[in-house]
Structure formats: C-alpha cells, structure tokens
C-alpha cells in the first residue's frame, strides 16, 4: 500500500509541482491550500506524513504542527515536516515535540 501524504501549501504552482514530484516517488498525495483546512484534514487522521509550508494563510505551519501534536500526539503515527524558504532552523526546532 502506498504511503499517504498530506501537502499543505498555499502557493498554487508549488502545490502542483511538489505533488507531481511526490506522486512520481510513490506517495498517495492529497493537498490543502491553507493552514486551517490542512489542520482539519490532518486531524481526521489517516496520513503517514504531513508536509507543511511555514507561511500559510489563516494558520501558520508551526501552529498547525503544534495543534496536531497536541490532539494526536499520544498515539501519533504521522510525522510533521516543515518546509520554508526563509525561516531560521532554530525556530523549527523550538516547535518540535
């Protein structure tokens, strides 16, 4: 069974190119275009990996990650991964749990 992956990215172009790339590497890719809808879909569960942009409308990537950890952390099977073009690595670490 193909690993299931949620890509949360507000930039339409990147959403297209990244999901094509990830699909070609053998993932079943679903997408969300803002933080809020991304969180709602991820919280329903069923994803092996959530790929988050950091600067997202309505709810930023760190918040989505933190909220996900809080609601599903104790029995989590999915991991979060942050991608961004200009956020310092230090801040990424500070929000991991």
């Amino acid at each position: 069974m193909m690993p299931k992956l949620l890509l949360v990215e507000d930039e339409a172009g990147l959403r297209l190119t990244l999901s094509d790339r990830l699909a070609s590497e053998g993932y079943a890719v679903e997408t969300a275009s803002d933080g809020q809808s991304g969180f709602e879909r991820a919280a329903r569960g069923g994803y092996d990996l959530v790929v988050l942009d950091v600067m997202l409308p309505r709810m930023n990537g760190f918040d989505v990650c933190r909220e996900l950890r809080r609601s599903i952390c104790p029995h989590a099977s999915s991991s979060c991964c942050g991608i961004s073009s200009n956020i310092a690595a230090r801040r990424c670490r500070a929000t991991s749990c």
Binding site: G13, L16, T17, L18, R21, S24, L56, P57, C73, A94
Partner: protein, 594 residues
C-alpha cells in the same frame, strides 16, 4: 517526545537606562549649581556689604574728625577767658580758621554765661572787632543753655557745638597746685553755631565725593538724616539741595544696606589730636589745661558715655545703598542671571541629548524597516523562483510527460516569470520614487479606461481565489492630466491590495466617478481591515499592519507608499477608511483637466 519551555525575559533597554542616568545627572548638576550659586551670592553680598560699610564708616570718621577738631579748637584757657574773653575766643576762632578746610561752617559764636535768657548772660563774638556784643540768646539755643544740668557737646537741631568753659578754683598747697572745677558755680559755655548749608557744601559733599564717588557716576545713593527726627533730611546724594524739585529719593531706613551714625565728638579723634606730632589744631592742644566733653547718649536711657571708635551713635544718621537697587536685589538679580544661563546651558545639553536619542531610535527603526523590506522582497522573489525551479526539475527529470501536463507547466513558468518581472518593476518603481527621479511627461489620461484595464488584469488572480471584482462608473469622468504609468501602478496597488486582503468568495467593488470637479476612484473590499493604530502609518514605506502580518499575507510594505507618492505627485488626495474585520475603503481624488 520532550517538551521545552522557552522563557522570555523582558530585555533591559540600555538606551533608556542611559538616558535616565544622564537626566538624573543633569538634574543633580542643576541642583548643585543652584546651591553653589547661592553660596557665591551670599559671599558676594557679604563682600559688597563690607565694602559699603567701610566707606560709610570712613566717611563718618572723617566728618566727625573735622567736628572734633572744631570742638577742641574752642577750648579756651579758663584764666584767659576770665581776663579777656573776647580776645581769647577771637584767637581760638582765628587759629581754627587758619587750620580748617571748611571755614564757612561756623556761622556764629556765643559765650553763654549763666542760665538766664537775657542779654546779660549772652554775648556774641564780633570776630572782626575782636569784641563780644551783648545779644539775645537765640530761641533755638535755649535748651542748650548751660545751667545746673549737664549739657551736651552737640546740639543736632541747631546744629551747634557746645564747649564748656567751667570756672576753676586753684588751691595752692606748698609747691602743688590743685585745680578744681567748680560745679556749683554758674557754668559758662562757648556755643559754636554751625551753618547747615555750609556743612553740606563744604564738608558733607566733598567727603561724599571722596568716599562714595562723584554724585552723578557714583554707584551708591547716600542720604543723611537727623537721628532724632528722620524726616529732616540733611543731605541726599544727587547734587540737589534736599527738598528741591528733582531731588533724588531719600534712602529710607528699610532699603538702606548700611547705616551709620555721625556728627559726634569722638574719643579716638581726641586721642589722635592729643598725641604730639603734625596735624591741624594739634599744636595748641597739649598746652591747654583741660578738655571737658560732656555728652549724653542719644538713647532713651540717657546714660552719660563717651563715644568710642566704631560706635555708631551720633546726632545724624547716614544711610547708603547701591544705586541699582538694594544689595539683596542686586545679588538676587545676578544670581538669577547666572542661574538662567547655567540652566539654559543644561537645558540645551538635555535637549540635544534627547534629540540624539530620538534620531538614533529613528535610525534604528529605519534600519529595521529596511531589513524587513529586504526580507520581504527576497521572499517575494524566492517564491516564484522556487515554483520555476521545481517545475523545471519535474520537466527535466521526466516527472511530467504527457502533453497536457507539459502545457500546464509552461503556463505556470510563464505566469511566475511575469510575477517576478512585476515584483522587480515595483521595487524599481519604489526605488525611483525614493530617489526622487522625475516621472514621465504629463498627458491627459482616461481614468475610466485605465481602471478598467487594471480590473481586467487583476481578474485572473482574483478568480483563482474566488474573489469577484466589480467595476462601476458613475457619470462621465473627464480626463486627468498626469503620468499614465504611475497612475496605473497606483491603481494596481490599490486593487491588488483589496484582492490580496479579501477572503475567498468575497466581492471587491471598484468605481469611477466625478465629484466637485475631481475624478474619484473608489475601491471597497470586505477583507481584513486595518487597525486604527496602524491606519496613519500604512502609507509609510515598509510599514505593514499588524493584521496583515498576523494573517501571514505576503507583502513588502511598499504598495501604499507608492500610491501615496503618485497621488501626491498629481496634487490629488488619498483617503483610507477601514473597519478591522469588516473591510477597507480607499478613495483617490484627482484634479481633472480643464
């Protein structure tokens, strides 16, 4: 799994601490200065008072020395007085006249003999004929009459000097003579009536000039009044006779910085005269048999005392003060002046210090804004670049192969390329405005067409986010004279902002109309809105509202500053009204061509 607590300690603001310390130092300096200036003023006042007191007492001493010399000069040997009274007194007068510098001060000389008022008891000296003429006793001298009472050496009211001439009894006892003044016998006295005007012109005025300087240029004001009747003014500096029109104000007792007594026979002056050596009037003194001075104090207790040096008794009182005001006032004025200058300097220091801090903070803020600008611009540039690169990688790696997909990728790369160009364009535009470069030449611009173009161009982006942009026109809009490219970019920024900050599914209304002879472009959105605190600042370069930052909406903070510059350049008006959470209305008013 681990949790991590990040403790945020409020950072101490060093500039504020430094400012507080420096301000405290300034305040301390000001206090010290105030106090020390007070000490200096105190010392200055003391110095000035001492100097004035020295002048006053020198003056009084010189004046009294002349009186004492006169007093002593008229002591006549009792035997000679018995033998030839007229000759003895005339000789004494002649001797005195030869030695004095103020010969006019003696108006008349009487010989009083006994207490009676009649001519038998009073004789007046006729100096020219060296005779004594029987005369009436002047009315104002009756109280000074010798009698059983002891009389005073000075009668300030007349004024007169009363020189006692007691009769003596000699008792011969072998080789020794004992001379006894006979107190029971009716007393005699030589009364020297002084001329008040001559006293003033020949004695007081030269002495005032000597000790206090010329009347007109002197920095002192001097008055002399009678001690027993202060309303009677003997002398007031300024050159005029007292009471004459234009006479200078008399120094009253309260405003006087220094007062001293004068018009007295002084013991120390007698001592000086008695000592052998050169000196006017001194030569004859040691030959005399006796000097009698009888003087009552002017005080209420009427004790008999002899006046010693430095004693500030006397029939007259000298009052002196500084011409420019009383000593306290002068010192207070100079203290105020010094204080004002000192505090002014400290104030200037404080003000420049505050200016430096303000300008440093402004610099800091500007630097921070520019850093944010650079970060924002680079992010805005990186996003399209990231899209283009990842699309390119997908194409190169054969991730997409079928024709339809490849076409989509081509369109994507083209769109992102245009976005990059726009971005660069906007930065260049801002840089041009910031550097003050002149815009294109002015020409009539059809505002309606320009706005319609912009709305069409924004259409694709808006549709993608589910936002509808409506355009309406209210009546005919005359052309506006201006720079079409600049105006277009201004309208692009406004409409672009409206779309950018609107939620999906909302409507942006753009309308064009004319109002009071001006063209109006109005853009209304139902987006985030701007906080009241941010509203006055949104047109500043690099400034971004809190709501926009919180919502993670990308932007550089230069859009509205470009709009403002363009509108200002066209002499127009930019109005922004906003309700946080409900939306923003932007109006641009431009003058139309006539």
């Amino acid at each position: 799994m681990f949790s991590r607590t990040v403790k945020f300690v409020r950072r101490i603001s060093w500039p504020i601490v430094t400012a507080a310390v420096l301000l405290a130092l300034l305040a301390t300096l000001a206090t010290l200065q105030y106090r020390w200036l007070g000490d200096v003023s105190e010392a200055e006042r003391e110095r000035m008072r001492t100097s004035l007191r020295a002048r006053a007492s020198d003056f009084a001493e010189s004046f009294d020395a002349e009186l004492t010399r006169t007093y002593v000069a008229f002591h006549v040997d009792a035997d000679r007085l018995d033998a030839d009274a007229a000759g003895a007194i005339a000789d004494a007068f002649a001797r005195w006249q030869a030695s004095t510098s103020a010969p006019a001060i003696v108006k008349a000389i009487y010989l009083f003999d006994g207490a009676g008022d009649g001519p038998g008891h009073t004789q007046r000296l006729d100096a020219e004929h060296r005779t004594l003429v029987a005369s009436e006793r002047p009315a104002n001298l009756r109280t000074a009459s010798p009698g059983t009472e002891v009389f005073e050496a000075i009668d300030a009211r007349v004024p007169a000097l009363v020189v006692p001439a007691p009769r003596v009894t000699r008792i011969q006892d072998g080789h020794r003579f004992t001379i006894i003044t006979d107190p029971s016998a009716i007393s005699r006295a030589i009364v020297i009536v002084l001329d008040r005007d001559a006293l003033r012109t020949q004695l007081v005025e030269p002495l005032v000039a000597r000790y206090f300087g010329d009347a007109r240029s002197s920095e002192y004001v001097v008055s002399i009044v009678r001690r027993d009747d202060p309303a009677e003014i003997v002398f007031a500096s300024g050159g005029n006779a007292p009471g004459a029109p234009g006479a200078p104000a008399v120094v009253d007792a309260r405003s006087a910085d220094v007062t001293t007594g004068l018009f007295d026979v002084r013991l120390n002056e007698l001592n000086r005269l008695a000592a052998p050596g050169p000196g006017r009037g001194a030569a004859a003194l040691h030959e005399r048999m006796a000097i009698t001075i009888v003087r009552r104090a002017n005080g209420v207790d009427a004790k008999r005392i002899l006046m010693a040096a430095g004693d500030s008794q006397g029939a007259w009182q000298l009052r002196a003060r500084y011409r420019s005001g009383s000593l306290d006032a002068i010192v207070a004025r100079s203290r105020r002046r010094n204080l004002a200058i000192g505090l002014g300097v400290l104030g200037l220091l404080g003000a420049s210090f505050v200016l430096v801090i303000v300008s440093a903070q402004r610099q800091q803020r500007l630097a921070r804004q520019q850093m944010e600008f650079v970060a924002a611009v680079s992010h805005e540039l990186r996003t399209p670049l990231a899209v283009i690169r990842s699309a390119g990688e997908n194409l190169a790696d054969g991730v997409v192969e079928d024709g339809e997909q490849v076409k989509r990728y081509g369109a994507l790369i083209r769109a992102e390329g245009r976005r990059l160009t726009d971005m660069v364009e906007r930065v260049m535009q801002f840089a041009g405005i910031a550097s003050g470069a002149r815009a294109q030449p002015r020409a009539p611009v059809d505002i309606r067409a320009l706005v319609a173009d912009v709305v069409t161009a924004t259409g694709a982006d808006a549709r993608e986010r589910g936002i509808t942009v409506n355009m309406r026109q209210h009546g005919a809009v005359p052309p506006v004279v201006g720079d079409a490219d600049a105006l277009r970019s201004a309208v692009e920024n406004i409409v672009g902002n409206a779309v950018k900050y609107s939620p999906g599914g909302s409507v942006v209304d753009v309308s064009v109309g004319s109002e009071n002879g001006r063209a109006r472009i109005r853009v209304v959105d139902r987006g985030l809105g701007i906080d009241a605190a941010d509203l006055p600042h949104v047109v500043k370069p690099f400034y971004r509202g809190r709501r926009a930052v919180d919502a993670q909406i990308r932007g550089t903070g230069i859009g509205l500053s470009v709009v403002r510059s363009v509108v200002d350049d066209h002499g127009g008006e930019l109005l922004i009204a906003s309700r946080p959470g409900e939306g923003t209305t932007v109006d641009v008013l431009l003058d139309v061509a006539h």
